[in-house]
C-alpha cells in the first residue's frame, strides 16, 4: 500500500479534471467554514499532502460507518481522498485476513510510529474484555496499544465517539467511548449513526491540510456540528407557523409539515444533515418524511423514545399521576376529618360561663 500514487496521478487515471478538483476544494473549504482565500492552500495541501498511514480499528460496531463511507459514489473525489491516505489496516476493506492482517497493523505502527492516524468505529467493552476480541486481542488492549503511537484519533460514528448503542441502557458489555480510555491524544469525534461521508472526508482533509479542526465541547468539529438540524431544516417554516404532521399518513405528513409531534429531535441535535444531506446531496431523513433521531448526540438511544415529542415526559407518568390523585384524596380526606374531629372536640370541651363566673375568676 505504501507505493500508492499521489492524488494528481489518481485524478488523471479516474478522469477527474483539475477544474473539478478545484471545485471540490472550494466546496470543502466552505464546508470546513474556512475563508475562500484558503481554497488554493487546501488544493495545494491535498495535492502534496504526504499520505499518512491510517489504521482503522472496528470494535463493537455494525459496519454501518464503513458502509456509509464506501457509499460515496465512485469515482468521487471524496473517494480519492480516501484512497490518497494509506489505509494500512481495516478489517472490512482489507484483503488480508488472520495473522497477515494483524501483521499489517503491526508493520504500519512500527513504520509510522507517532505519525499515523488512528480511526476507530465502535464502542469498547470494559466489563469483560472477552466480549469483543480481534485475533485474540481484546478491543481494550488493541486500542491502548494502537493509540500509543498515533498522532491523533478520529472516533467515527456515535459508538466510538460516545458509546452509542452498546452504551445504551442497560449497557450489558460496559461499552464506553474511545475518549473514556485514551486521554493523552487529540481525539476528533465524528458522531452519527452513521456519519455523513463528506463530513468524514472533510475532517480527514482538514487534518491533512491544517491539522486538528476546531472542536466543540463534545469533541466534534464545529464546522460540521455547529448548527442544529432544527435551525437548518427546510421544514422549519412549518414549525414557526404552527403546522405539524400528527401521524405518518395525514395531510400534514403529505404536505411536508414539521415532524416535531412525531418525535423529531432536530431542536437538540447538531449535525450537517440538513445542509450537506445524504447520497450525494439527495435528501436527509426529515426530507424522507422521518423525524430526526438525534444520532449525533450522546445517549441518543436513551432519549425517551424516538417517536415521543421532545416536550413529552419520558417516564410512565400517567401511573404516577393516578397514584397521586388517590394519595392526595386519601390524605386530604384524612386531614379534613381530623380537623372536623378537632373542631367537634373543641366545641364539646367548651365550658359554659356567664358574667358572674367571669367576674369571679377575675
Amino acid at each position: 500500500m505504501a507505493n500508492k500514487p499521489l492524488l494528481p496521478e489518481m485524478m488523471k487515471t479516474h478522469g477527474v479534471s483539475r477544474r473539478a478538483f478545484l471545485k471540490y476544494c472550494a466546496s470543502l473549504t466552505s464546508l470546513m467554514a474556512l475563508s475562500p482565500a484558503m481554497v488554493p492552500r487546501v488544493a495545494k495541501a491535498l495535492e502534496s499532502a504526504p499520505r499518512p498511514s491510517v489504521i482503522w480499528l472496528s470494535f463493537q460496531e455494525c459496519t454501518g460507518c464503513t458502509e456509509s463511507i464506501t457509499r460515496s459514489h465512485s469515482p468521487t473525489i471524496e473517494d480519492l481522498i480516501f484512497n490518497s491516505v494509506s489505509l494500512d489496516y481495516h478489517h472490512t476493506l482489507q484483503a488480508a485476513s488472520g495473522h497477515a492482517a494483524e501483521a499489517a497493523r503491526e508493520q504500519a505502527m512500527k513504520d509510522n510510529y507517532g505519525k499515523y492516524l488512528l480511526v476507530v468505529d465502535g464502542s469498547i467493552p470494559i466489563k469483560d474484555p472477552g466480549y469483543s476480541c480481534i485475533a485474540g486481542i481484546s478491543n481494550l488492549d488493541m486500542l491502548k496499544e494502537t493509540a500509543a503511537g498515533a498522532a491523533a484519533i478520529v472516533s467515527v460514528g456515535t459508538c466510538a465517539a460516545y458509546g452509542g448503542v452498546g452504551h445504551a441502557n442497560p449497557n450489558p458489555t460496559g461499552a464506553v467511548a474511545v475518549s473514556e480510555i485514551i486521554t493523552d491524544k487529540p481525539i476528533i469525534n465524528v458522531p452519527g449513526c452513521p456519519p455523513i461521508p463528506v463530513v468524514m472526508t472533510g475532517v480527514l482533509a482538514h487534518f491533512l491540510t491544517f491539522g486538528i479542526p476546531e472542536l466543540d465541547a463534545l469533541g466534534r468539529p464545529k464546522a460540521f456540528f455547529g448548527e442544529s438540524i432544527h435551525d437548518r431544516c427546510y421544514r422549519r417554516p412549518f414549525y414557526d407557523k404552527g403546522k405539524f404532521a400528527e401521524s405518518f399518513d395525514d395531510e400534514g405528513a403529505r404536505g411536508g409539515w414539521c415532524l416535531y409531534k412525531l418525535g423529531c429531535k432536530g431542536p437538540t441535535t447538531h449535525s450537517a444533515c440538513a445542509t450537506v444531506k445524504w447520497n450525494n446531496g439527495v435528501s436527509f431523513p426529515i426530507e424522507a418524511g422521518h423525524p430526526c433521531l438525534g444520532c449525533t448526540e450522546p445517549d441518543f438511544w436513551d432519549n425517551g423514545g424516538f417517536y415521543k415529542p421532545l416536550s413529552v415526559p419520558s417516564g410512565d407518568y400517567r401511573k404516577m399521576g393516578l397514584a397521586a390523585i388517590v394519595g392526595g384524596a386519601a390524605i386530604g380526606t384524612a386531614s379534613a376529618l381530623l380537623s372536623k374531629a378537632g373542631k367537634a372536640k373543641a366545641v364539646k370541651a367548651h365550658e359554659t360561663v356567664n358574667a358572674h363566673d367571669l367576674e369571679k375568676s377575675s
Binding site: A161, Y162, G163, A177, S179, E180, N189, A217, L218, G219, S228, D231, Y239, D240, K241, G242, K243, F244, E246, C258, Y260, K261, P267, T268, E297, P298, D299, D302, N303, G304, K308, P309, L310, S311, V312, P313, S314, G315, Y317, R318, M320, G321, A323, A324, I325, G327, G328, A329, I331, G332, T333, S335, A336, L337, S339, K340
Partner: protein, 221 residues
C-alpha cells in the same frame, strides 16, 4: 462521553417531571378534598335568594372589573388581564405544549404560530414586570405583599423567560436552556398547591362560596 445538558434534559423529562407531577396533582387533590369536606356552616335562616345560582354566577362575574376600578388601579387590572390571558395562550397554544397534553389526555387542537406565541410571551413578561413594579412602589400594596407573593411572581415569570430564551436560542446551549425551562416549570408545579398559585383552581370554590352565601341572603352578584 456524556453531554451534561442532555442528561439534565432527560432528568427533567423523566424523574424530575414524575416528582413534580406527583406533588402537583397530589397537592391539588389534597387541598380540594380538604376544602370541600370542611365545607361551610349550615345557614339555618330562611333563604331570601337562590344561593346556588348566585354562586355559579359569581364564579364568572368576579372576572369582570367593577365600574371605576380599572381607573382606580389600572396596572393591577390591565397588567392582571394581560398576564392571565397571555399565560393561558402561551401555555395552551404552543405546539410542544399541545403535544404534551395530547400525550397525556389524547386531545389536541391547532397550534398558534411563532409570531403570536412570542409576542404574547413578551407581553406577558412585561405585564408581570409592571405588576411587580407596582407592588414595590405603591405603599399599600407593598405593605400587603409577602414573600409568598414575590416567590409566585418569580415562579410564574421564569418558565416564560426560559421558554422564550430556549426557543429563540438567545443565550446558552439550547439543550441546556430547554432543560432549564422544564425545571422552572417543575418548580412552578411543586409550589402550586402550597402557595397562592392554587387560586388557579380554588378560585372556583371560593367565588362559589362567596356568591352563594351572599345570594342566599338576597344579595345579587
Amino acid at each position: 462521553m456524556n453531554n451534561p445538558a442532555f442528561d439534565l434534559l432527560m432528568w427533567a423529562r423523566g424523574p424530575g417531571f414524575d416528582i413534580a407531577l406527583v406533588i402537583f396533582v397530589g397537592g391539588i387533590v389534597l387541598r380540594l378534598f380538604e376544602i370541600s369536606i370542611l365545607g361551610r356552616k349550615r345557614d339555618l335562616a330562611p333563604a331570601k335568594g337562590n344561593g346556588f345560582l348566585q354562586g355559579l354566577k359569581t364564579i364568572f362575574s368576579r372576572s369582570v372589573p367593577r365600574e371605576g376600578l380599572v381607573k382606580f388601579a389600572p396596572v393591577t387590572y390591565i397588567g392582571g388581564y394581560v398576564f392571565h390571558i397571555g399565560f393561558f395562550v402561551a401555555f395552551f397554544f404552543f405546539a410542544p405544549h399541545i403535544a404534551l397534553i395530547d400525550d397525556a389526555f389524547g386531545i389536541s387542537w391547532p397550534a398558534a404560530g411563532r409570531v403570536i406565541i412570542e409576542s404574547v410571551t413578551a407581553l406577558t413578561v412585561l405585564a408581570l414586570l409592571a405588576l411587580t413594579y407596582s407592588r414595590f412602589t405603591d405603599p399599600v400594596r407593598k405593605s400587603l405583599t409577602t414573600f409568598d407573593d414575590y416567590l409566585v411572581l418569580l415562579l410564574s415569570a421564569l418558565p416564560l423567560i426560559t421558554g422564550y430564551v430556549a426557543v429563540n436560542k438567545l443565550f446558552g446551549d439550547p439543550t441546556m436552556m430547554l432543560a432549564v425551562h422544564l425545571l422552572t416549570v417543575e418548580a412552578l408545579m411543586i409550589a402550586f398547591p402550597f402557595t397562592k398559585l392554587m387560586h388557579a383552581v380554588s378560585f372556583v370554590l371560593s367565588r362559589y362560596y362567596n356568591g352563594s352565601i351572599q345570594g342566599r341572603k338576597g344579595a345579587e352578584s
